[in-house]
């Protein structure tokens, strides 16, 4: 099992928002929902490789800033065209107020 990697303090991510996290030559999107839950997906949209950290988080969805395609960021499922391919998701947790992801 991969190690947990620290991302940031929980307070660094607004409620119902997303930030970009670059690690080991890869890029991710890390989300916080309204209940304080944290989630992690690949950073780039599966449609045209645009970073999702500039997108809009609404309920359980992330909307891509380029063509408004949507994913469920908790499951990675594509929800709205032109997105057709699911987003990879990674385990995420909060430990002592710090967000960690398992990549």
């Amino acid at each position: 099992m991969a190690d947990w990697t620290r991302v940031c303090a929980l307070d660094d991510i607004d409620e119902e928002d997303v930030i970009r996290f670059d690690h080991d030559g890869r890029t991710f999107a890390v989300y916080r929902d309204l209940d304080g839950g944290v989630y992690c997906t690949d950073g780039l949209c599966t449609h045209e490789q645009v970073h999702l950290a500039d997108g809009l988080v609404m309920d359980d969805t992330i909307e891509c800033p380029k063509h408004n395609g949507r994913f469920n960021y908790k499951t990675g499922a594509p929800l709205r065209s032109p997105v057709c391919v699911a987003l990879a998701t990674y385990p995420a947790r909060v430990v002592d107020g710090e967000v960690e992801v398992q990549l």
Binding site: E48, L56, M58, E63, P65, K66, R80, S81, C84
Partner: protein
């Protein structure tokens, strides 16, 4: 904007090659113009989140007004049919159906008009029917238009190809021949056939859906024709399909200004898109798409927040044209010149407060004939 797909097939021989499968398409990919990084004005994330926020309220109000006016004007037109008093009712109904459909199609296609998804989808399909566009194909076409805005060989929605055919564009104000060509595309899709360009931007998995919608749309239009023949009256066609001819002028008037006369093959929407101020009625019909540079830079921002977005970044944009007339005064001489000098375009100037253009991309337009 409409009119583009069919225009590509009726170009004079010396025209630029706007097909999506020809040498210009390959050149765009080779020169890095396809799926490229575009310029964006800087906006703090907090402000951006506020601008992107979705609401149902404004679009519910506007849609209720739209549908309400459509019904009232149709009833007025029917009640006065056969008299001169009928004309103003159809003038209103025509624009609400044949022009306002375009902006509703556009905003609901982006999924930004309403917060609730099914509302976007329902209005999108209704508006697609009115504007005679295949709702599936055009989702993909419009995604490409946003990826590769006015990149020759990549963008399927370039309304004014160079050299521009001004006679043809003038006829577009009365839907000719556009409406027949759009219907022909629907009929072709209904038969399960797609052009090479359509195959370039519609994934295979989406084509069965496109075929189904095309069949539904064609069937309803044919029913209206059959109704007109059976009753010996034009009334069914005044209500369905006809407004795409007699009421599309406002859509064409505003749509041609979006990119007309401006640069091709650049990666900065400030060079290839036009923002302008407009009277409030036109802005309501057009759902604020007069802020077109802003929309292209940030397609996540709903139509009702575009005026706020404009106020926030106007220091970084070329000054908006002051009116429809002012914008046409800018565009028409450029189009006339492009008939003989297809490399010509209007050079948009930035205010001193703006981030400069990236010259390497600005230079490409005139070179790639």
């Amino acid at each position: 904007m409409t009119l583009a797909d069919t225009d590509r097939h009726s170009r004079p021989r010396a025209a630029r090659d706007y097909s999506l499968t020809g040498p210009q398409a390959r050149a765009a990919i080779e020169t890095g113009l396809a799926s490229a990084e575009w310029y964006h004005s800087d906006i703090p994330r907090k402000a951006m989140k506020d601008l992107m926020r979705r609401k149902d309220g404004p679009a519910l109000r506007d849609t209720a007004l739209w549908i309400g006016l459509l019904i009232l004007s149709a009833l007025g037109g029917i009640a006065t049919w056969g008299t001169w008093a009928t004309v103003p009712f159809w003038a209103v109904y025509g624009v609400l159906y044949g022009s306002a459909c375009d902006s509703r199609w556009h905003e609901c296609g982006h999924g930004t008009a309403f917060r609730t998804s099914w509302m976007n989808d329902a209005v999108y399909v209704l508006a697609s029917f009115m504007v005679m566009r295949n709702p599936t194909s055009w989702r993909w076409s419009h995604a490409r238009h946003h990826t590769d805005t006015i990149i020759v060989g990549r963008d399927p929605e370039i309304a004014l190809m160079r050299p521009p055919n001004l006679a043809r564009k003038s006829l577009a104000f009365i839907g000719i021949p556009d409406v027949f060509e759009q219907f022909w595309i629907l009929a072709r899709n209904a038969a399960g056939r797609f052009s090479a360009d359509e195959r370039d931007y519609i994934p295979e998995s989406e084509r069965p859906k496109a075929i189904r919608w095309a069949r539904v749309f064609v069937a309803i239009h044919l029913a209206a024709v059959a109704g007109a023949l059976a009753t010996g009256s034009l009334l069914p066609l005044m209500l369905i399909g006809g407004p795409r001819i007699y009421g599309c002028w406002h859509m064409v008037m505003t749509g041609l200004l979006q990119h007309g006369g401006l640069a091709e093959n650049v990666l900065d929407h400030r060079l290839n898109s036009r923002s302008l101020h407009m009277n409030p009625v036109s802005r309501w019909i057009y759902w604020n798409m007069n802020y077109h540079v802003e929309h292209h830079m940030f397609p996540m921002v709903p139509y009702h927040a575009l005026p706020r977005l404009h106020a926030l970044i106007k220091h970084d944009l070329p000054p908006a044209n002051s009116s429809l007339l002012d914008a046409y005064r800018e565009m028409i001489p450029a189009l006339i010149r492009q008939r003989h000098a297809p490399g010509h375009h209007i050079p948009k100037a930035l205010p001193p407060t703006a981030q400069p253009f990236r010259a390497e991309f600005h230079a490409l337009d005139g070179e790639r004939q």
